[in-house]
């Protein structure tokens, strides 16, 4: 089996150019959002707004300025599927359309997907959505087809500032750790890695260097497996069923009692 591969996205060097978005569309031949003319969102320079079945890369823009402009920064981050080691979408998919590949990436087989959209609800990062053309759930495949012939994913190849880096996970983690130390030494105290260790869903095969809290970037602080609720959810259901059964059976007894008292009368 091939080595686990993934992305390290260093948001501190992202210039928000959206080359990743377009390169992704060009390689994967994805349709333009709303035929190419969505309304201007007004949310900084972001008009893609969110990841979806046709936007597998999404550059986020976060403007942070004090009122007097004495402090200010413009954070940018190219968001993508996290290719979680413990992938919630893969776990819940009822058709088996979502698979884990030999590169440890998570891929939706669009020919198997029937569009139930459960994976959308499972993803803690809001990555997946239905592609309006294929009408199946779609997301980043980490350019599975390119990986199989030893090519880089289209976005990572296009990224002008190497904010998106592709490679073996182990190597990327070393790069990320070194970059984090460099930034912290430069006084970026808030800089941190997101999803680089295996505490988060067993590790994200697409992990990030952030310059602020995850929430600022629209990322959950502690993403969880949806199946965490399976046990107690089932218990609540079973308990309710038992209660209802008991109520029903008691109902017969009470009815008999009433009948008997009627008979007595």
């Amino acid at each position: 089996m091939a080595e686990p591969m993934g992305f390290f996205t260093d948001t501190s060097v992202c210039i928000g150019c959206k080359a990743c978005e377009t390169a992704c569309k060009a390689w994967n031949q994805l349709p333009a959002k709303e035929g190419g003319h969505p309304p201007m969102s007004g949310d900084s320079y972001d008009n893609t707004v969110r990841l979806s079945g046709e936007d597998w890369r999404h550059v986020k823009f976060i403007e942070q300025f004090s009122e007097d402009r004495s402090a200010g920064r413009w954070l940018m981050m190219s968001d993508v599927c996290k290719h979680c080691v413990n992938a919630p979408c893969l776990e819940v998919c009822p058709t088996g359309a979502i698979i884990r590949t030999e590169f440890d990436t998570v891929v939706i087989q669009t020919d198997a997907c029937n569009g139930c959209r459960l994976c959308i609800t499972a993803c803690p990062f809001g990555v997946i959505d239905v592609n309006p053309v294929s009408k199946t759930a779609e997301k980043c495949t980490l350019c599975y087809d390119r990986l199989q012939v030893g090519m880089q994913p289209a976005c990572a190849q296009a990224c002008p500032t190497a904010s998106i880096q592709f490679g073996p996970i182990a190597q990327l983690k070393a790069t990320a750790t070194a970059r984090l130390s460099q930034l912290q030494a430069q006084g970026e105290k808030q800089a941190s890695l997101y999803g680089a260790d295996d505490k988060m869903l067993g590790g994200l095969n697409s992990f990030y260097l952030l310059l602020d809290e995850p929430g600022v970037y629209g990322l959950p602080v502690d993403p969880k497996m949806p199946t965490r609720n399976l046990f107690w959810g089932s218990v609540s259901s079973v308990a309710a069923a038992v209660v209802l059964g008991v109520v029903g059976l008691f109902g017969f007894r009470e009815r008999r009692a009433v009948d008997e008292s009627d008979a007595d009368a």
Binding site: M1, E3, P4, C17, K18, A19, E21, T22, A23, K25, A26, W27, V85, N86, A87, L90, E91, G96, I99, R100, T101, E102, F103, D104, V107, Q109, Y144, D145, R146, Q148, V149, M151, Q152, A154, Q157, A158, C159, P160, I169, D198, G202, G203, M225, T227, R228, L230, F231, G233, S234
Partner: protein, 190 residues
Amino acid sequence: MSLTRREFLQATLAGGGTALGSLIGLGVSLAPAIARAQTLRIANARVTPSVCPYCSVGCATLVHTIGGEIVNIEGDPRSPLSEGTLCPKGAAIYQLHKNPNRATRVLHRAPGAATWKEVDAEWALDRVAALFKKTRDESFVERFADGTVANHTTAIFSLGGAILDNEWNHLQQKLMRGLGVVAIENQARI
């Protein structure tokens, strides 16, 4: 990675309800990797080196064609300028070529007309040449009133060139200057 996988399985097993599931999933499992056979859509493509036509950085591109049709355009990793990277415009060069909005017919609008008409390219070229000659002949100035040699016409204006090949710029300025057109301009000035 096998370690991570094992950890994953342990985590799943520890997950209560999921534990049962891991054991009784029929024909499906989360853990093992599946290699899905697929063909790269540029596997048998011809690769032609090209250059991005947008800004002046000159990022190198590779054009993939199959049977003479462009199927993909992406950055050329060999380039010391761009190392395979592109900006969003460069990454969308494919859509300059393959685009239903692309104009592909020679069009002619007669004076005063409200609509275009598709015309034959040869006819259009002949017509332009005739109009060019008429205007040049009517407006050519050999000498100014003070006797200075001018040898020019200022009634014809050639505009454009900054997004075009050097070879075109040479050819255009040669034709224009050869005919006495001095008003030759491109985007370099504005």
